[in-house]
């Protein structure tokens, strides 16, 4: 097991290097000169050239890449070209805001998905199943930004229950105020996360109920409830544990659109602002972080799978 994890970790390194290089090159290929975000139109060509040299932007692309890589390896993500602030410090301030929004929303979505998915799957083809499945299809087809606008119109404007922007009212720092700001983006995110998970739970329930062991349990006098509680739900829910690993990158990039719409001061607006001005140290830092979380998340998912599924465990120990 430890060997397996070690081997997987070693595979992560070249993958991350490759991802960072690709991202770096793609940004370089964009038809945009990053120096424009620092200069003003009335600066002379010489001034612009001096600025370019000072930031090292006149060096060949690969030289720039390795310089950046060297710094990252020393833990230095660099500075925003636009604001001159330290990216590490900025991210340290923004990521917690994203996390307190994404984690409750994701957990709510997961709980809803498990409950409704099992319920629908157990009643496959009946009215309740068609209703839940239809609702999740609509949820899946609804873009979060559009749903966010509906929510803002209804609860923020028409009913005027919740503030429509930000995380705190200026000058107020209490929990109640935070929660009032929290409700709408949380609702939107939950609705964004839930349908896909729900469909997974439902279809896996339906297929488990067709398994032979269910028929065998019926032949041995198990009631519907017993079969469901002791056998089917376990088979359905064990693989879901692995979703926790796959969901890891959501902690950073899970709410970019929603945060931006609601002016939630998380990673989302920070990332979009950086993208608009092609502030590439920031873009690189966030993409690298996100890619790392995707890879680490998948590793965690694989390890969890080995831990929860007895069949996989044996195959690993044999190999």
């Amino acid at each position: 097991m430890a060997l397996y994890i070690g081997r997987r970790l070693l595979q992560v390194i070249p993958m991350l290097l490759l991802i960072s290089l690709v991202v770096f090159l793609m940004i370089q290929a964009a038809p945009y000169d990053v120096v424009d975000s620092i200069t003003t139109p009335n600066m002379s060509a010489e001034t612009i050239e001096i600025i370019r040299q000072r930031y090292g932007l006149d060096d060949p692309v690969l030289v720039q890449y390795f310089r950046w890589l060297g710094n990252v390896l020393q833990g230095d993500l660099g500075y925003s070209l636009v604001s001159q602030y330290s990216i590490s410090a900025d991210l340290a301030a923004k990521i917690p805001n994203t996390v307190i929004l994404v984690v409750p929303a994701y957990l709510t979505a997961l709980a809803l998905a498990i409950g409704l998915g099992l319920w629908a799957g157990a009643n496959h083809g009946r009215r309740i199943d068609r209703f839940i499945d239809g609702a999740s299809a609509i949820g899946l087809a609804t873009p979060p930004f559009w749903f966010a606008l509906l929510v803002i119109y209804l609860f923020g404007y028409y009913l005027n229950w919740f503030p429509i922007i930000g995380m705190h009212t200026v000058g107020q720092d209490d929990l109640i105020d935070l929660l009032r700001h929290f409700v709408m983006p949380y609702l939107v995110l939950t609705v964004a996360f839930a349908p896909e998970l729900l469909r997974y739970v439902r279809s896996s329930t339906v297929s488990q109920l067709r398994e032979d062991y269910v028929l065998v349990q019926r032949a041995f006098g198990a009631s519907r409830a017993e079969i469901f509680r002791n056998h089917v739900s376990r088979n359905v829910l064990l693989p879901i544990v692995t979703q926790i690993g796959v969901a890891l990158p959501l902690l950073v990039t899970g709410a970019i659109i929603t945060e931006t719409i609601f002016g939630w001061p998380g990673v989302g607006p920070y990332f979009l602002t950086a993208t608009k001005s092609l502030d590439y140290p920031v873009i690189l830092a966030i993409l690298l972080l996100s890619a790392t979380l995707v890879i680490v998340g998948n590793l965690i998912a694989d390890i969890l799978y080995v831990l929860v599924d007895p069949r996989v465990r044996l195959e690993r120990s044999r190999s």
Partner: protein
């Protein structure tokens, strides 16, 4: 002495995709006496499995079942409430998929012990391990803790038989219990079943399409074709003096018999001819065969 199982006038309809009811069992009579092994033979789709599933109440949800009698140990079971435990156990064709892959062997056994014997905890565990021992599993305490995938097919079928025994049945229904197993393992499982018949005073209904299995194991045989029992007799009667043309065709189609090389045609015309030409020992097929057009047969 009453029979262990007596089913009479059993008819089952299952709606197909278009909602048209397909009759999979036509007025079937079937009995199993005490300590008897009754073979049920017939080609795929002849209704063997549906007959057995009717008895243990695991027909598909949409199936419509009617019967004039269903007695187990002389007790009427045509109307049965939920949770009413039947002293009938059933084991299935594919032991590889019969057990829940994420539950240990012991879990399966203890569940049955709790349900049928009301015993839990360490005592149930002990009974489970004893049952594994009884069906010839080596190192039962270790097997008890293992997952199904850690056992071979033959071993898993033994586990199924152990589960079946723990339900304290008077009748064991074995639905092609050896079809998915290696030939050598097949023989072991059949030996185990015949041994249990003696030791546990068990009656057995053995569904199979392997006439060799029937010849070696069964006391009596019921031959099924297109949802009807077309002939019932002792194993000797069926093998040496088959009355129904379908039985003869079935025997002829089996490799190693005298008429080997004959092929069993399944075209509708031929098969319904067989059904109409009812045999001496068949009780109901003459009167009802003509009522059901050949198209509704599976």
């Amino acid at each position: 002495m009453t029979d262990v199982l007596r089913v009479a006038g059993l008819t089952v309809d299952i709606p197909n995709r278009d909602g048209v009811a397909v009759r999979v069992l036509h007025d079937v009579d079937f009995t199993v006496g005490h300590g008897e092994i009754v073979g049920v033979v017939g080609e795929s789709g002849s209704g063997k499995t549906m007959l057995m599933r009717s008895v243990v109440d695991i027909l598909p949800e949409t199936a419509i079942r009617t019967w004039t009698a269903c007695e187990v140990d002389g007790v009427d079971r045509t109307t049965r409430s939920r949770g009413d435990r039947l002293p009938v156990s059933m084991i299935f064709q594919d032991p590889m998929t019969s057990l829940n892959p994420v539950r240990r062997i012991g879990y399966h056994l203890v569940e049955v012990i709790r349900r049928f014997q009301g015993v839990t905890g360490g005592r149930a565990r002990q009974l489970g391990i004893e049952a594994l021992d009884q069906v010839g599993i080596d190192d039962p305490a270790r097997r008890f803790r293992q997952y199904p995938h850690e056992l071979s097919g033959g071993m898993r079928q033994r586990v199924m038989i152990a589960m079946a025994l723990l339900a304290k049945p008077s009748l064991l229904i074995a639905d092609e219990p050896t079809t998915a197993l290696d030939v050598t393992v097949q023989a072991q499982i059949l030996d185990l079943i015949t041994d249990l018949r003696r030791e546990a005073r068990l009656a057995v209904a053995l569904v199979t399409h392997d006439l060799g299995v029937v010849a070696g194991t069964c006391d009596r045989v019921a031959v099924m074709c297109r949802g009807r029992v077309v002939e019932v007799g002792t194993t000797d009667e069926i093998f040496y003096d088959p009355q129904h043309p379908y039985t003869r065709a079935l025997l002829a189609a089996a490799p190693g018999t005298e008429a080997a090389g004959g092929s069993l045609t399944v075209s509708g015309g031929v098969a319904s001819e067989w059904v109409d030409a009812s045999a001496v020992r068949v009780q109901h097929s003459t009167t009802h065969a003509s009522l059901v057009p050949a198209e509704v047969a599976p």
